[in-house]
Symmetry: C2
Subunit: 334 residues, 2 copies
């Protein structure tokens, strides 16, 4: 809580510029109803006085806000952080102010964060929902506020959702391995029951069917962390030493698997092939070859903004928007 001194207002600006309060307001709201000379005088006065536009007052009077809350479930996931950053930049370029908050994969924190942000008059909420987010909660929220979800669908919710084509991503990654003739293949990921993981597994299974391969049971990591993946792999490998290929949910999981392989000292003639369904730029520097699909954060952010725009304009956006993935398989060993 801070006490602020009496501040410079549009009154002071109007005085110094020798125009009316209304004119100053028109300049501030980018109106084109103001002549060039008046505008110049106003801008000069603003500069001289160090005037700061008070968006709280403006928002209150106009019942408009350009504050967009971005609620991220896992900010320590570099993919999410980069997505949030990209989104923030795009929103900025479109005169919207992004406000990133973290729900830290905690349902209660997510609920609380949204509740608080409502009091700050956020114009819209972009939510990367935590696991077990309730469709009913989301739908109730949607009835009062502009809401969309990102990267993860909340099943049966009516809130518009933007997410990558997970199914295609895993299908591409899986086909890449299957084309090399592998037969003992498994999927490994965290939170296998969630909608995004389900979509990935579905693409994987489809690819296996197409090659007439029966996949091994999916390997589940307790968390989306390299260490979890390492341990999960070691356990699974003990049970299935014939394992020869692995489709990883993402690069974080892949990193853990690589480490496990080195730790176990698996002989190279037993070479296990690995693919990852999406790439974390700059994250992985594997000493081995890793085939990975690229899901561009910028593409996702751009599409997210378009849906947001529709939401703000009250044209009902599609309830689900799949963003294409870049099927270029990259070898990220370098």
């Amino acid at each position: 809580m801070q006490n602020r001194a009496k501040s410079v207002t549009i009154f002071d600006v109007a005085d110094l510029a020798g125009v009316s309060k209304s004119t100053v307001s028109l300049v501030l709201t980018q109106s084109d109803k103001v002549g060039k000379k008046s505008k110049q005088k106003v801008l000069k006065a603003i500069d001289e006085l160090g005037y700061i536009y008070n968006r709280d007052a403006a928002a209150m009077r106009s019942r408009r806000s350009n504050l967009v809350a971005i609620v991220i479930n896992d900010l320590t996931n570099p993919y999410m952080a980069q997505l949030a950053t990209n989104l923030e930049r795009i929103l900025n370029e479109n005169n919207l102010q992004a406000m990133i908050v973290s729900s830290n994969n905690n349902l209660e924190l997510q609920t609380n964060a949204v509740k608080n942000l409502k009091e700050y008059n956020a114009a819209a909420f972009i939510i990367c929902p935590v696991a077990n987010t309730c469709a009913k909660w989301l739908d109730t929220l949607s009835a009062q506020q502009k809401v969309m979800t990102l990267m993860r669908e909340v099943p049966f919710s009516a809130a518009p959702c933007v997410l990558p084509d997970y199914k295609k991503a895993s299908h591409v990654a899986s086909m890449h391995l299957l084309a090399q003739g592998v037969t003992h293949i498994a999927f490994i990921g965290s939170e296998l029951s969630l909608s995004d993981s389900q979509a990935l597994q579905s693409g994987f299974n489809t690819a296996c069917s197409q090659h007439g391969v029966t996949p091994l049971v999916a390997i589940s990591c307790s968390q989306n962390q390299a260490l979890s993946a390492k341990n999960a792999f070691i356990e699974a490998y003990a049970k299935h030493p014939q394992l020869s290929a692995l489709v990883c949910e993402n690069d974080i999981i892949a990193q853990g698997v690589f480490t496990a392989i080195q730790t176990l000292n698996i002989p190279t003639n037993n070479n296990i092939k690995i693919a990852s369904c999406y790439h974390l730029p700059y994250y992985s520097v594997m000493p081995y070859s890793l085939s990975t699909v690229v899901i561009n954060t910028h593409d996702i952010a751009k599409r997210c903004h378009l849906v947001l725009k529709e939401l703000l304009q009250n044209t009902a956006p599609p309830v689900k928007t799949l963003v294409n993935v870049n099927s270029l398989i990259r070898d990220s060993s370098q």
Copy 2:
């Protein structure tokens, strides 16, 4: 921009509760001047009407705000993301609303972000400054706003700063390696000219002196990314094949170095010892032993909040606060 419908106000709440507008306001501002029965009635009415407190209006009238902007230079660095998340939680627990924005290591974006956030009446700014942040800019800002920096000092600025004891961290890490009798040792990090890196190098150099060892020239990575570190190491190793120990700025750099060592296939009898000055929890799963100092994000966040509190209370906080590092060297090979 969104048009909001006519909203439920304290007027409506007062009506339904059968009390005065003032009483409702007193309840909302946590005053203790309200009787229990009135308070109950008000809370009930709030619940029934789905009333949402309008903080913009409250902030405007009271000239107070509990919005704290956290400007992070690199959100894709998991350490920074975790720090931001921890800080956010602590602020929340103290009735402050955190607003994370990213400057993406870009001076212009940082300047712009701060400029925008001023218009939203942020009560304070916690800035993890980008490289080359100008002390003059920061001091001008400090004159108008409550500002503090985090994790990185802007040299010669008067803004209070909270950061870990980098010098100790690198000293501990270096001593750990030097105690094993290594003689050809170097420091590797990114942006070597920045204040935080300088502090790390200083601790490293002190440790070397104490052991009578002359360090090799510091290895510079173009960015704080594993890939940069990998390439930088490979280049440096070609010049200095006698290199036998390396003190890394952090786990990201260490990860790159490890990958380089594997890629180069350096013989094990030539085993290069590695330590990292700070640990990124959950980040690194190295197949090898990595000695790393723990700089707890929660400790930093807690101290940051205390300094912020002083700032908000107008008691001048110390210009520089060093947070102790946990000298427990951990072996993060598992």
